[in-house]
Amino acid sequence: MPETNAIATKAAGEATAPEATRGGIYYTPLVDIYESAEEVALQCDMPGVKPQDVDVRFEKGELSLQGKVQPRQALAEYVEQEYGVGDFYRSFAISPEIDAARISAEYRDGVLTVHLPKQERAKPKRIAVKTG
C-alpha cells in the first residue's frame, strides 16, 4: 500500500467533496497495517478526536483518513509543551484486490481501525491434493 501525498482532487461543489479545512496544520497519524488471509487491516492513532469527527473516505482507489480535533489548550500558558494539538490527515492507495463495498471502520479510545476485506478472488486458496 504505497502512500499518496497529494489529496485527491475533487470537482468543486461536488456533494462528496470534503469540507473546507480550517487551514491549520495537519498531523500525520501513526498507523499499523497488517494483512491476514481475509483482509488488510489498518489501525491509526487519532487521540483527541471525537467519534463523530472521524472521516474515512474511499474514492478512486484511495483511502483517506481525517480526524478533526476540537481546539484545546488554546489559551494555555505552557510550562512544558512536548506535542502540538491539531487535526490528523493521511491517505493511502488501496490495491484493487480490496472489496471496496465492504470496507468498514470503527473508532474507540482514540484509535481508528479500518477493515479492508479482500475480494474473493484475491484470497489464498488451499488446493486439496488427492492421492491415488
Binding site: 500500500m1 501513526l30 498507523v31 499499523d32 497495517i33 497488517y34 494483512e35 491476514s36 488488510v40 487491516a41 489501525q43 492513532d45 487519532m46 487521540p47 483527541g48 478526536v49 471525537k50 467519534p51 484545546r72 489548550q73 494555555a76 500558558e77 505552557y78 510550562v79 512544558e80 509543551q81 512536548e82 506535542y83 494539538v85 479510545d109 482514540g110 484509535v111 481501525t113
Partner: protein
C-alpha cells in the same frame, strides 16, 4: 522493529533532556535570549508519552496523548507533592498471525516522571481519559497559589 522497543531504554535519557530543557528555559528567563541563538534541544521522541504541562492560578494541568489505553491500563501517582508519575502499558491489538505492512505505533510499558512547577495537593488530583487523551488536573497547594494582597486606602 526499533519502534517496538523504543520506549523503555530511553526513559532515563528523556528525563535528562527534560531537565536540560527546563534549565535552558530558566536561563533564558534569567538572562534573556543572547546574541547566540541556542537551538532547541533536539526533539527526542524515544520516550512515551509526550506531555504538555500548563497552569492557571489554582491548578496545574498535565495532558498526554495515550490512544488505545483505558484508565485501568494506567497508574497515576503524585509524589512528594511536586512529582507526577505516569505508568502504563499499551498492548498490541492485532491478531498474532498476520503479515505486517507497516508498524509505526509503539507498544509496551512506559513510565515517566514529570517535575511539577509548584507543589500540589496530592488529595486533589483529577484524571480523565477521553478519546485517548489523558488530562490530569492538580490543585495547587495553598502556599503555591498567588496571593492577592489587599491594599488599604486610608
Amino acid at each position: 522493529m526499533s519502534i517496538l522497543t523504543r520506549w523503555e531504554p530511553f526513559c532515563e535519557l528523556r528525563h535528562e533532556m527534560r531537565q536540560m530543557r527546563r534549565f535552558q528555559r530558566a536561563m533564558d528567563r534569567l538572562f534573556g535570549r543572547t546574541g547566540i541563538d541556542v537551538p532547541e534541544w533536539p526533539a527526542l521522541t524515544v520516550s512515551y508519552p509526550p506531555v504538555n504541562l500548563w497552569e492557571d492560578d489554582d491548578f496545574v494541568y498535565a495532558e498526554a496523548e495515550l490512544p488505545g489505553l483505558k484508565m485501568t491500563d494506567l497508574e497515576i501517582t503524585v509524589m512528594a507533592d511536586k512529582q507526577l508519575t505516569l505508568r502504563g502499558k499499551r498492548e498490541r491489538a492485532a491478531p498474532a498471525k498476520v503479515e505486517w505492512h507497516r508498524q509505526e505505533r509503539g507498544f509496551g510499558s512506559f513510565e515517566i516522571t514529570i517535575e511539577l512547577p509548584v507543589s500540589v495537593d496530592a488529595g486533589k488530583v483529577e484524571a480523565r481519559l477521553e478519546n485517548g487523551v489523558l488530562t490530569i488536573k492538580m490543585a495547587k497547594s495553598p502556599a503555591a497559589k498567588p496571593r492577592k494582597i489587599p491594599v488599604k486606602a486610608e
